[in-house]
Symmetry: C2
DNA sequence: TTGTAGGCGTTATCAC
DNA sequence: GTGATAACGCCTACAA
């Protein structure tokens, strides 16, 4: 099954068949018809390896995401990113390869990722591991087109698609303050995580706008290599006379709910909670969680579209897409 | 950057270099060393397109899974499957391409999946859409090696890796019956879903073993194209004088919890609930959900290993792997 | 509008 | 132990 076969069947040359298939040169209607028929007859599909060898394009893109343990709700978020990217890519005839790196290993060299060791993908969709461009330097050195997703490292000039975490965090914390809370704790994953930093920035600005100074004793980052366990951290926080917690991702929110209920405290009466969600479970917690939702699917989709555009040789129209996030008010933020 | 270049650098022939790299023929230690040095010097990587052209092997496998809407907990399950498969594949030098099909479209022709339209992948990991081999016939006709995951259609002779849903469902329902429940309702996704059928079979056997006949009025399948909404179905079920519900997946369990709490009924006093979980959220529901957990990661991993084995030309040692599932007892199944 | 021919970087066959 | 050389299937000058 090859161009040659089609050429034989139609009595035309390989060249003409090739041009007919790719539309790279005028071909007479009669020839076109014959070729189309033969293609159908033997269900011919061009050999991508051969094509790739000539064009050095694989029409394949890799999505590189952090992988946490199984059963972690962050995974759902990335699944939606993946699905969005896949949808956009398939539309343009690209395939999507998946690769992951360990979220919790410091200074993991991304260029060690197997697929990047091969001459293979045309471009990269990357969720960067940290705030630092240094950590993705080796991957940038591959000289493949890159679009970042979800996290924008400091000093980043690459195209990037992410949620407006700061604005929505500002809103969430304001909601707590406006309903009379005075001691709003902040709980984040890591001070080295761009998204987390944005959320912290929104928190600080909201406090500032309400004339309340940031009290570092009720701000905690659960650094991955932290000495204390997450449960301990939350317990500590609660013992600092707080009346509410803004927790900067869904996994943290989940643990906050757990610890609070273990201490037999009431939400929102004793402690109001606002978190993040990647999943519908937040509506069946006790009480249903007031939470921020991001459009993960759109994030993947938009990023993929930008990458495809770059691969097509165009100047990207937008090098930085900031998607809005939503605050869903349920019962955990206020008893009024 | 090619074998030719390495050949020039070392003064050896392309042939020898190729054999040295692939270990397909004895090469003198001295030559080996020279070659290794040159490879390192120019950071040479074999061109996969060229290699693929000769071998007609892409060292790439596709994972085909159903995709539901964003934010659906089923996605988490498949993310873990994906991650497990990826881990195993990378170990053997394979890359993983992702493709999805719409879960709710009947008779979706899987062979329409873009990646399968190209001459590209060496093998297929597939979560089949239904109970019927007919629905995956077109994909089987591709003549690529296939390993099924999670669901075993009727009359299936392909290698398949799935959880022992029946046994664990038997245990779960027995737990309800042993604690005195008499009217255990069953809620499943679809009678056309192999996993769901297994869970129903476990349910029936448990009832049988306890001398209770299956009452079809308290058995419901939420067929995807069902006229009534899921909420209606659950409400109907509750009105049939039941004292407990076994819901056959996490999405259903979530909705069961929601409806019960909307009706201001108490769990487990009024209605005991056992569900499935893909995620840690089940511990923060009210009350924490007694649930069945599967090892999705292992499922993907094992399936990928079998596929790699087949691709290596071996007879697979096991054509059917049934993984155990766990029942996690929390608070929703019994008040004693 | 069509055809000829060379080459992309491998692997495989055969010969030494 | 080692080397020439012919494919694999496609694209693309260059020619007609």
């Amino acid at each position: 099954m090859s161009l040659k076969k089609i050429a034989e069947m139609t009595g035309l040359s390989i060249t003409t068949v090739s041009h007919a298939i790719n539309g790279t040169r005028p071909v007479s209607a009669a020839s076109k018809k014959k070729i189309a028929e033969s293609i159908k007859a033997i269900n011919f599909k061009p050999n991508l390896a051969a094509r790739m060898m000539k064009t050095s394009r694989s029409k394949t893109v890799v999505l590189i995401i952090p992988a946490t343990e199984p059963n972690n709700s962050t995974n759902c978020f990335f699944f939606d990113v993946l699905n969005g990217a896949k949808t956009a890519l398939e539309k343009h005839g690209y395939s999507l390869i998946i690769s992951t790196y360990p979220e919790n290993v410091l200074n993991f060299d991304l260029s060690l990722i197997p697929i990047l060791q091969r001459i293979w993908v045309d471009g990269i969709l990357l969720v960067p591991p940290s705030n630092s461009m240094e950590d993705i330097k080796s991957i940038i050195n591959s000289n493949l087109p890159i679009v970042l997703i979800d996290r924008k490292p400091k000093g980043c000039t690459l195209p990037v698609v992410y949620s407006d975490s700061k604005t929505i965090s500002y809103k969430a914390v304001s909601l707590l303050l406006d309903s009379g809370r005075k001691r709003v704790a902040f709980l984040g994953v890591s001070s080295n995580n761009p998204t987390c930093c944005d959320r912290y920035a929104g928190y600080c600005e909201a406090l500032y706008a309400h004339g309340i100074p940031v009290d570092k004793t009720i701000v905690r980052f659960y650094e991955n290599n932290h000495a204390s366990s997450l449960t301990e951290i939350i317990n500590e926080l609660i013992e600092h006379n707080i009346d509410s917690i803004f927790s900067a991702n869904s996994m943290l929110a989940l643990n906050v709910l757990k610890v609070i209920s273990e201490r037999n405290l009431k939400i929102p009466e004793d402690i109001a909670v606002i978190g993040f969600e990647n999943l519908d479970w937040t509506q069946v917690t006790n009480p249903p969680l007031t939470a921020i939702v991001q459009d993960a699917n759109a994030m993947g989709y938009r990023a993929a579209e930008i990458l495809v555009d770059i691969l097509a040789g165009n100047q990207p129209k937008e090098s930085c897409v900031v998607l809005p996030a939503k605050l869903i008010k349920r019962k955990s933020h206020s008893n009024t």
